[in-house]
């Protein structure tokens, strides 16, 4: 095995460049290094101006998502040695505006996430005097979808979001669905107005790449298809019994 590997890293300076380009760096190829370690080596030893986000280094914070050889990955859990002999190409997450080098603007995602109210909403005066009891079966209904870390790899993998930026997107829908399935929540109707519109679940054409790239096995595609079934059933109910909810 060679001692070094060539990394091609996307560079974009908003005040000097009109479009991103790739710069090559030769970095040590160590068996225990992740791609993020190599990026930190570049920043510490070769070029301190390189910009990228990272925090926890253990696949929890969701900050270090980037395109590694054109596939969205958390760079803190992507072994560099898997790309030997190289070169390995690292770029910013696809489909998002690029702020600088490997840093993207996530405002669009954050605004969409807020729309689905990803928190527990109570509409009654329920004031618990102790913990809200949930059975294992009730927890199982939403647990998988609650593992999302908002890394937005699913948005970078989704061609629908790339082609139609109005698409609500996999993570936002999965998280909305997660709270709808939570026995403590009472805002499913509010979320329904956002999630069941055309730019919500109906924009999804089941490419399935969101599920493939998800580092936490959330399976956003499953959440979207489940919600399609729920929305269709609700529509039929309201069609057959227009006064059913009154």
């Amino acid at each position: 095995m060679a001692d070094t590997i060539i990394m091609e890293v996307a560079r974009f300076h908003p005040e000097h460049d009109t479009e991103p380009s790739y710069a090559s760096f030769e970095v040590p190829l160590r068996g225990d290094w992740m791609v993020l370690d190599a990026l930190n080596y570049i920043k510490d030893q070769l070029d301190g101006s390189l910009a990228f986000r990272w925090s926890c280094r253990m696949g929890i914070c969701g900050s270090c998502g980037m395109m590694v050889n054109n596939i969205p990955q958390l760079t803190c859990e992507t072994l560099l040695v898997n790309y030997a002999p190289g070169p390995v190409r690292v770029g910013p997450l696809a489909h998002f505006p690029i702020v600088k080098d490997l840093v993207v603007d996530l405002e669009d995602f954050l605004a969409k996430l807020q729309k689905v109210k990803p928190w527990i909403v109570r509409k009654d005066d329920f004031k618990p005097e102790r913990e809200f009891i949930q059975t294992p079966a009730q927890l199982d209904k939403f647990k998988q979808f609650s593992l999302c870390i908002n890394c937005t790899l699913c948005y970078a993998a989704c061609p629908v979001y790339g082609l139609d930026p109005n698409f609500l997107g996999p993570a936002a829908i999965a998280l909305g669905h997660r709270y709808n399935l939570d026995s403590r929540d009472q805002a499913a109707d509010d979320r329904h107005d956002v999630i069941s519109q055309h730019e919500g679940i109906w924009d999804c054409t089941v490419v399935g790449e969101c599920t493939t790239v998800c580092p936490k096995h959330v399976d956003p595609s499953l959440a979207i298809q489940q919600y399609k079934l729920t929305a269709t059933a609700d529509w039929f109910k309201s069609f057959l019994m227009p006064r059913g909810n009154k």
Partner: protein, 136 residues
């Protein structure tokens, strides 16, 4: 009170290539799956034409069969059959995406939802084959 200028970065908006579906095998597989719907429609139309020829009499049906034997139609139907099989397999593989939790309330292996569909498909095809071959 100091006045701050709101941060307004000059960002670069990437554009998707028209050939994005060639970027990765998974995207190509998706594009092939979606385009297979065209061949499903083609086979439906072909079957309707076949029924029309059958009802028009033996001469019309013989002409229809003769048309099907042309090299062009054989190649076209072979390609269409390949896409039809792809369509069926990918369709059944999508069943676990919607059905499992809705029926059981708990996650189960995908195969439990998809494999019964394949059995029904093969069973129905077997019965149709027996019928066509005159065995039943």
């Amino acid at each position: 009170m100091p006045q701050y200028t709101q941060y307004q970065p000059k960002v670069y908006h990437p554009r998707m290539s028209a050939y994005w579906w060639l970027d990765h095998w998974h995207y190509l597989r998706y594009a092939l799956r979606e385009s297979s719907s065209f061949f499903v429609a083609y086979f439906a139309v072909l079957t309707l034409v076949q029924v029309a020829a059958l009802s028009a009499g033996p001469d019309h049906y013989a002409a229809f069969q003769s048309c099907l034997r042309s090299p062009f139609m054989i190649i076209l139907n072979a390609v269409a059959l390949a896409f039809l099989l792809l369509h069926a397999v990918t369709w059944f593989n999508l069943v676990p995406r919607v059905m499992v939790r809705q029926i059981t309330g708990r996650p189960l292996p995908d195969a439990i939802a998809s494999i019964p569909n394949f059995f029904v498909w093969f069973g129905a095809s077997f019965i149709v084959a027996l019928f066509i071959l005159g065995i039943i």
